[in-house]
């Protein structure tokens, strides 16, 4: 049994106006990884390389123990893939798609598929072209989940869904994880979703992985320190500060390596620590990207 469901080692891929550089990714079996990045950062390219749909220029990719893209047919037997730019066949019904997939996947669970149709409020007899965007996303997810895959690869699974549908989908994704042998990788703009259900989080920006860690570690490491400076005191120089904001006498330090000791250091240097704020994943991501881009242009 493989410890790692997905393993990227030094993967690079070059295009005319964009390149993925030196991507390292490790996704342990049984966990769920959220993949966050701006538009055009490389999330979709990475996911396509994972699925064997794009061949990397350098580096090795192993998915569920199979080398990609060479062994993609075997790997895909165990993978449920849904991407934002994927469409089902408009003239056919959801039922047709279910019947189409059924003999292909050995673990296809027809009962579960029908139950999902009820929970997602989908009518199997309805043609795909008559469905709204949200319904289509749910239909594609249904088809991916019903095959009981060992790995779910989802590119923006909740984008475009109304809040009720989002909660349902997150619930089904978590329910799939009740089996410890199942793994999920999903990319999203929606940092709230990622923050809520991910075990591991990876940030990608402009073709590079800029951070990857478990969720709790991220939320622990990042803090905003709100200081009040007396008139003659300078902003303390602390290691691990990625951004300094606020005003002259009320600076706000953003750090990605918070230690409680920092508070005492600030106090010793004469800066009163008014508050130590936790940061949401969205704030962490934006701060991470900004500081990195600033360092590059500096």
């Amino acid at each position: 049994m493989n410890e790692l469901a997905v393993q990227f080692d030094g993967v690079s891929k070059g295009y005319t106006h964009f390149s993925l550089e030196n991507i390292h990714l490790e996704l342990p079996t049984g966990s769920i990884m959220g993949f966050i990045g701006a538009n055009g950062a490389g999330k979709s390219t990475t996911i396509r390389i994972l699925m064997g749909l794009v061949h990397q220029d350098e580096g090795s990719v192993r998915v569920l123990g199979h080398t990609m893209p060479a062994e993609q047919a075997q790997a895909k037997l165990e993978i449920g893939f849904v991407s934002e730019d994927m469409r089902l066949y408009g003239p056919a019904t959801l039922k047709w798609h279910m019947e189409f997939m059924r003999p292909i996947y050995p673990r296809w669970d027809q009962k579960y598929a029908e139950e999902l149709a009820r929970r997602f409020d989908l009518k199997p007899e309805q043609k795909i072209k008559g469905l709204s965007h949200g319904q289509r996303v749910k239909a594609a997810l249904l088809l991916a989940l019903a095959r009981r895959p060992r790995l779910l690869v989802l590119d923006e699974p909740t984008t475009g869904l109304d809040p009720v549908a989002r909660v349902e989908v997150l619930g089904e994704l978590m329910a799939a994880l009740a089996d410890e042998e199942r793994t999920i990788l999903f990319s999203s703009h929606n940092t709230l979703d990622v923050e809520q259900i991910s075990d591991q989080i990876t940030f990608i920006d402009r073709g590079r992985i800029i951070d990857s860690d478990n969720k709790e570690a991220f939320l622990d490491r990042w803090r905003r320190l709100r200081l009040v400076l007396p008139p003659d005191v300078q902003v303390p120089r602390l290691p691990g500060v990625v951004e300094v904001g606020g005003s002259g006498r009320l600076p706000v330090l953003t750090t990605d390596r918070f230690e409680p000791a920092m508070v005492s250091v600030c106090n010793e240097l004469g800066a009163a620590v008014q508050a130590v704020d936790t940061m949401t994943l969205e704030e962490i991501f934006v701060a991470n990207v900004h500081s990195r881009r600033e360092r590059l242009t500096a």
Partner: protein, 223 residues
């Protein structure tokens, strides 16, 4: 090669084009009737109709199940199934040829049967066979270009090229001394010239299809 999956993909393509396929077959049957019972004028008209239908059918199916996968964005869905690029390519080539070839065989067979049965047109045998295989060549050209380029414009260009080539070849072959002399005669014959021509056409088909497989399996950005 996972033949079960290839079969399933072919079935899917046929399912979505079942109406077009049926209509084409009906049209072909009607044209054959026109050829058989329409006299001299009917013969010419029927032949034109048949060739048109055959060409259009191949264009429709190729556009419908290959180019459309890219346009309608179902390619990602198909490639998410447990298949490789080679199996995808096989299903498209086999799927299209299996629609086209039986139709082609029926029409060509019917035409040849008519030629054999009616002495006035005996001489047309060699020419008909050469042109029939030429139609196969231009179909394979369009199939190859559609699969490799995944672009509507390129596929249409290939279709037009194939059509033009068909007419050009038709004209040229009809004027090759070895063929022309016998064409308007009343004897059924076959000669070395005809064999050479047909052999090179078949080689061309093999090149087109083989080349397609080669390029497809080496594609680095399938989607």
């Amino acid at each position: 090669m996972n033949y079960a999956m290839v079969r399933r993909l072919i079935w899917k393509d046929w399912y979505f084009q079942r109406t077009a396929i049926l209509l084409a077959f009906l049209g072909g049957a009607v044209s054959l009737g026109v050829i058989a019972f329409g006299g001299r004028a009917g013969f010419t008209l029927g032949v034109i109709l048949v060739v048109t239908i055959v060409v259009m059918l191949s264009a429709m199916t190729v556009m419908g199940n290959t180019i459309e996968e890219r346009e309608k964005q179902t390619l990602a869905f198909v490639m998410s199934l447990p298949i490789s690029y080679v199996e995808y390519t096989t299903s498209k080539i086999l799927g299209n040829l299996l629609i086209f070839v039986p139709f082609w065989v029926a029409v060509v067979g019917g035409s040849l049967a008519l030629i054999v049965v009616a002495p006035p047109i005996h001489g047309f045998l060699a020419f008909t066979v050469i042109m029939a295989v030429e139609i196969l060549v231009s179909t394979c050209l369009m199939l190859a270009v559609a699969l490799v380029s995944e672009s509507k414009s390129w596929a249409i260009a290939a279709m037009v090229t194939g059509n033009v080539a068909l007419n050009l070849v038709g004209y040229l072959v009809a004027h090759i001394p070895g063929i022309r002399r016998q064409m308007w005669g009343t004897a059924i014959y076959w000669n070395a010239t005809a064999t050479t021509l047909v052999a090179s056409e078949i080689a061309l088909i093999a090149l087109l299809l083989g080349g397609t497989f080669f390029i497809q399996s080496r594609k680095k950005d399938f989607i």
